[in-house]
């Protein structure tokens, strides 16, 4: 069924005899209309409100509008909250950094000098037996790279004071 073709059940004969369920629902709708409000659950009443809102919308009460407006106006904007939060965090970070500098400044410096950095050396010591003039290039490069990486680690450990 396309949206242009309404459900044929929207056109039943209004004079058909009602069922018990229809009588009960009709009585419920009548009571709701007389009260001017719905019971706990009344699908007809929701539609009554929608129809009235579309045809003759009632103005909002001034006190209700003022309450809604004051509530919104009293809220801090997200931007302001964000600025305050970021400002607070930045201030805390700056204070923490300053304290860290002061605390670190009072501690004795680690004895880095006691652990001398590894020195660079010739690659010749890695090949005590010499090597062939042709072939094995990749193996030699790997051996040198491994040795130098180890030297680098040793230097870093020494600089950090963990050696």
């Amino acid at each position: 069924m396309s949206p242009k073709d309404p459900d044929p059940s929207a056109f039943p004969d209004p004079d058909d005899p009602p069922s018990e369920a229809e009588l009960a629902a009709a009585a419920e709708l009548r009571r709701a209309l007389e009260r001017g409000s719905s019971g706990p659950v009344n699908a007809d009443w929701a539609l009554v409100e929608a129809v009235r809102a579309a045809s003759r919308p009632a103005p909002i009460a001034e006190t209700t509008h003022r309450r809604i407006m004051n509530k919104a106006l009293s809220k801090p904007t997200k931007g302001r909250v964000l600025y305050l939060a970021l400002g607070g965090l930045a201030s805390a970070a700056a204070i923490a950094a300053a304290l860290a500098l002061v605390v670190r400044g009072t501690r004795p410096a680690p004895e880095i000098a006691a652990a001398p950095a590894a020195v660079c050396r010739s690659a010749a010591e890695l090949f005590p037996d010499g090597f062939a003039t042709t072939g094995g290039t990749s193996d030699r490069v790997d051996r040198i790279a491994y040795a130098r990486a180890r030297d680098l680690r040793e230097n870093r450990f020494a600089a950090w004071g963990v050696r």
Binding site: P3, D7, P14, D44, A53, A54, P59
Partner: protein, 255 residues
């Protein structure tokens, strides 16, 4: 919005006068002497309400309020919302959302969004209301997508209205009065179109009892049936209308 400035009474022989001025009222603190003696209220020393301010609302007034609101002046924003909010509720939110409580909630959400975004608002010739209305329409679209009760409008209807509103802003052609009238007409046309889809006797029952709020007896008499039969007809009419609304949006989940 409150300020301190020499009161116009200063020009009329009053020795000293200051006033606090708001859009609604002027409060004056005046020391009034004439001929060497103080005068009784309203020309005596003290705090007094001088006069209600009834300044005409002009585009310049509105633009000045918007400028102050953008700078964080909540009282200026309050004046704008006080002027345009009730219109927004009655002509946009309530007809499209179909329930006073839901419309009030949407109005509050729209105001919160206005408070958050007013600093980014760029003044255009069409004024503050089109911007406010567009915000409210976006809120209403979200509400319609989330809710499951019967309403005449679909989110797609409001999306089309938002697109039209953006075109109107570009043309600077829409005053708030025109927008209000058109919004109300759109809602009534939507209802009329739905009623045209159901049995004429059903449509007549809804028009008389729900729209025009005629008495049950009068409506039954107009249809030529007993009141008990009219109750059944009206219930069937609401059921038929619900089916028509659901037919326009087969994807919408119904309770």
């Amino acid at each position: 919005m409150l300020g301190l400035a020499p009161h116009p009474a200063h020009r009329t022989g009053v020795s000293r006068a200051f006033f606090l001025r708001s859009p609604f009222v002027e409060l004056a603190v005046a020391s009034v002497f004439e001929g060497g003696r103080s005068l009784p209220f309203p020309l005596a020393r003290g705090l007094c309400i001088v006069q209600p301010v009834a300044e005409p609302w002009t585009p310049d007034t509105e633009q000045a309020l918007v400028a102050r609101a953008r700078e964080g002046d909540r009282s200026a924003l309050g004046v704008l919302l006080t002027r345009f909010g009730p219109m927004l509720y009655r002509s946009v939110l309530l007809p499209r959302l179909g329930n006073p409580g839901v419309a009030e909630q949407a109005l509050g959400d729209a105001y919160v969004r206005v408070v958050e975004r007013i600093a980014t608002f760029q003044w255009q010739g069409s004024g503050f209301y089109p911007w406010l209305r567009t915000i409210a329409l976006h809120i209403a679209i979200d509400v319609l997508r989330a809710r499951r009760r019967e309403v005449l409008f679909e989110p797609e209807d409001l999306e089309r209205e938002v697109e039209a509103a953006e075109r109107d802003v570009e043309r600077e052609s829409m005053s708030e009065a025109v927008a209000e009238r058109r919004d109300l007409e759109v809602a009534r046309a939507k209802l009329a179109a739905a009623l045209d889809e159901i049995h004429p006797r059903y449509a007549a029952a809804i028009r008389m009892r729900v729209v025009e709020e005629r008495s049950r007896e009068e409506a039954a008499s107009q249809l030529g049936v007993s009141t008990a039969t009219f109750d059944v007809i009206l219930h069937r009419a609401m059921t038929a209308l619900r089916k028509v609304i659901a037919t326009t949006d087969p994807k919408r989940e119904r309770p």
